[in-house]
């Protein structure tokens, strides 16, 4: 029975996990680096343990320090969140060896899914459709051309150890083949210490659709429907929604079945996500499986009503899943916007710094998962995500209107952020119609142009207020001596003056 969970993470996800712990009556332990003493997860937790210097490699990625903290605090389980050590099989193994519960799948499942070529082979054996391409690594340069021909151009050369868009080479014609292959190998070798590459058909303008799966130790595996994640900028998800505008009940049933099969093929336990590429003809291909909770899990929670973190903890406790596939339903429509401390007007330059003021959107159908507060200084060391804004409504159209309303209410000042960019996407025709794929931003470059169409009256107002604010500031400063004179006659000043005399 889990009674105390150490959350081996920071930021919004650490707070998110602790919220569910609190609702379950489970004690939570935060870990924190030097930069994070005043971070929200430390304030929120029941206990907090210092684990080292600010760079992640010396704190949040340091297995020894996290294990020390877990043992010291008497935690009986560790929740890894996402990122950091969440997909590190070695960490999962160490946790188990220390006699603690790792809230996630087995080290074997993590390992199998962590290597793309291995995962690909397992999927093929399990009957899950993968992108057409090679089953094995390519070692013989002479066979390159033949393999490429059999797949058909354009093709993609991928590093088996890669991920998140790294170590990939697109080959559009035969002339680029050999050089691309060589560069991919050398890049993979230096980036991942593993130069194994393989070849896949390149899917043009695909949709990125993922399925949430959940499995217990008793052989029950279900999926909790899809999430559409095609709005991406530089392979980073920006907006997610569920249901997917592309989805049909038939496609959902087929993909859900394969997602469950994918999880079962590695004896998966816990929460996981099976990512697919889907083309406009509803052909779909296994891309990878993320063996952890995803950033975008709240939209699934909203349409299914299931608290995924609580379910993770129940499953880690050895309990059976509290629902069967046929009991799960998807009600209404949910959208998530990720808000980053980045400047959308300046090529998404990171913008860490002091949060001077923050107003969260409230009211019907709005959920915010964040961790920054007024006066908090966003550190330079970690991910620039500030928060996730999730809305729900009965229909997709209403959800978009609600998201616009929530973005209107959301005010963060001090750090530049991507709210204006998200507003632009919500206004885009292609988004409103649901007619978009992973090339959405390239096809809609206007979403990158944050408008500056202030009319004269609005300009005049802006400059008048600036003038007023400035004048007030000036008055205050210039008249400060008077303020001090006033203080001087207060008992404080009197005390200060007498202090040296009296030698208190």
């Amino acid at each position: 029975m889990i009674r105390k969970i150490l959350v081996a993470n920071r930021g919004e996800i650490a707070v998110r996990v602790m919220r569910s712990c609190r609702e379950m009556g489970i004690q939570s332990v935060a870990v924190f680096s030097e930069a994070d003493r005043s971070a929200m997860h430390v304030r929120y937790a029941d206990e907090a343990c210092f684990i080292g210097p600010s760079p992640s490699s010396e704190s949040y990625l340091n297995i020894d320090k996290i294990m020390d903290a877990a043992v010291k605090s008497g935690a009986d389980a560790i929740h890894p969140g996402y990122g950091f050590l969440s997909e590190n099989a070695e960490f999962a193994r160490r946790v188990a060896e220390a006699g603690l519960i790792f809230i996630g799948p087995s080290p074997d499942a993590i390992l199998a899914m962590g290597d793309k070529l291995t995962a690909r082979k397992i999927m093929m054996d399990a009957g899950v459709s993968v992108v057409p391409g090679t089953r094995d690594l390519i070692e013989d340069e002479d066979k390159l051309k033949e393999t490429a021909d059999s797949i058909g151009y354009p093709i993609m050369i991928k590093a088996s150890a890669g991920g998140g868009g790294k170590g990939m080479r697109l080959v559009r014609e035969e002339s680029e083949l050999v050089s691309s292959y060589r560069r991919a190998r050398s890049e993979a070798g230096s980036a991942f210490g593993n130069d194994v590459v393989y070849m896949e058909k390149y899917i043009e303008s695909p949709h990125h659709i993922e399925f949430q799966v959940m499995a217990d130790e008793h052989g029950n595996t279900v999926h909790l429907f899809e999430r559409e994640c095609s709005v991406q900028r530089r392979h980073q998800k920006v907006i997610e929604e569920t249901p997917s505008p592309l989805m049909t009940p038939e496609l959902r049933a087929k993909m859900g079945e394969q997602a469950v099969a994918a999880a079962q093929s590695v004896n998966y336990v816990g929460a996981g996500t099976v990512e697919f590429l889907v083309d406009n003809d509803h052909n779909f291909y296994f891309l990878e499986m993320n063996t952890r909770l995803q950033v975008e899990h709240p939209i699934t929670e909203r349409v299914t009503g299931v608290d995924l973190v609580k379910t993770q903890i129940m499953v880690a406790n050895g309990e059976e899943l509290p629902f069967k596939q046929e009991e799960l339903t998807q009600t209404g429509h949910a959208i998530e916007c990720r808000i980053y401390a980045e400047d959308p007007k300046n090529n998404f330059m990171p913008s860490p710094g002091l949060v001077k003021h923050i107003t969260e959107p409230l009211g019907l159908g709005v959920r915010t998962d964040g961790y920054v507060y007024e006066g908090y200084e966003i550190p330079i060391y970690y991910d620039p995500m500030i928060s996730k804004l999730i809305v729900w409504a009965q229909t997709r159209g209403e959800a978009i209107e609600r998201m616009k309303r929530a973005l209107y209410e959301y005010k963060i000042s001090g750090v530049k952020n991507t709210i204006p960019f998200l507003k632009r996407i919500m206004e885009a025709e292609d988004f409103a119609s649901g007619n978009y794929d992973t090339h959405f931003i390239e096809k809609n470059p206007e979403v990158l142009e944050i408008p500056s169409d202030c009319n004269q009256e609005c300009e005049d107002m802006a400059l008048f207020i600036a003038y007023l604010d400035y004048t007030e500031k000036m008055k205050k400063l210039v008249s400060e001596p008077t303020e001090v004179e006033k203080h001087a006659s207060s008992p404080w000043k009197e005390f200060a003056r007498r202090k040296s005399v009296l030698r208190l």
């Binding site: 330059m349 990171p350 913008s351 202030c454 600036a466």
Partner: protein, 172 residues
């Protein structure tokens, strides 16, 4: 007292004609306005004008008279050029004029400084690499010149707008 206020590339003349409670009468480039202005939170103003309700946020950027003004959809850079500014502009004129000093808009960490003091650099040559939030940004010289002074070291944590490297142009 008349004041100049710059918004984007426009410079406007602002004159306060009168004030009664929260109501201000102002002359802006010859147009007369009556604004009802209340500061509701630090730096946040609620403005009523002809019945319309607008919220504006004044974010001080770097200097006391430089603002980033946020309205519902937009953000503007505004500079108030009052007597003080004019006074300062008249009395001081030196101090590292813009362009020759490399700074970053955001705090971060110095990853690499691939140049040395006294070294000659080409226009477009990277002189410093800064990392913030797992992303590295390279800052380049805008001209052909020499590295006059390096004010930080590799590994240093830096503030936004902090002078990092001074360059001297060899162009004319």
């Amino acid at each position: 007292m008349q004041n100049e206020v710059r918004i984007n590339s426009r410079t406007a003349n602002v004159e306060l004609l009168g004030k009664e409670g929260s109501k201000y009468r102002a002359l802006i480039d010859g147009r007369e306005y009556e604004f009802d202005v209340v500061r509701v939170e630090p730096g946040i103003y609620s403005v009523l004008h002809n019945g319309k309700s607008t919220n504006m946020e004044m974010i001080e950027v770097g200097k006391a008279n430089h603002y980033s003004v946020k309205t519902l959809t937009n953000q503007y850079e505004v500079e108030v050029i009052d007597a003080l500014t004019r006074y300062r502009n008249n009395t001081k004129g030196d101090l590292a004029s813009a362009g020759n000093v490399i700074t970053t808009p955001m705090p971060g960490k110095v990853v690499r400084i691939p140049v040395k003091e006294g070294e000659e650099v080409e226009a477009g040559q990277t002189v410093i690499t800064i990392s913030a939030m797992k992303m590295e940004s390279e800052y380049k010289s805008a001209f052909h010149g020499t590295v006059k002074k390096i004010l930080v070291n590799e590994g240093d944590t830096i503030e936004g707008h902090q002078p990092l490297i001074e360059l001297e142009s060899l162009e004319d």
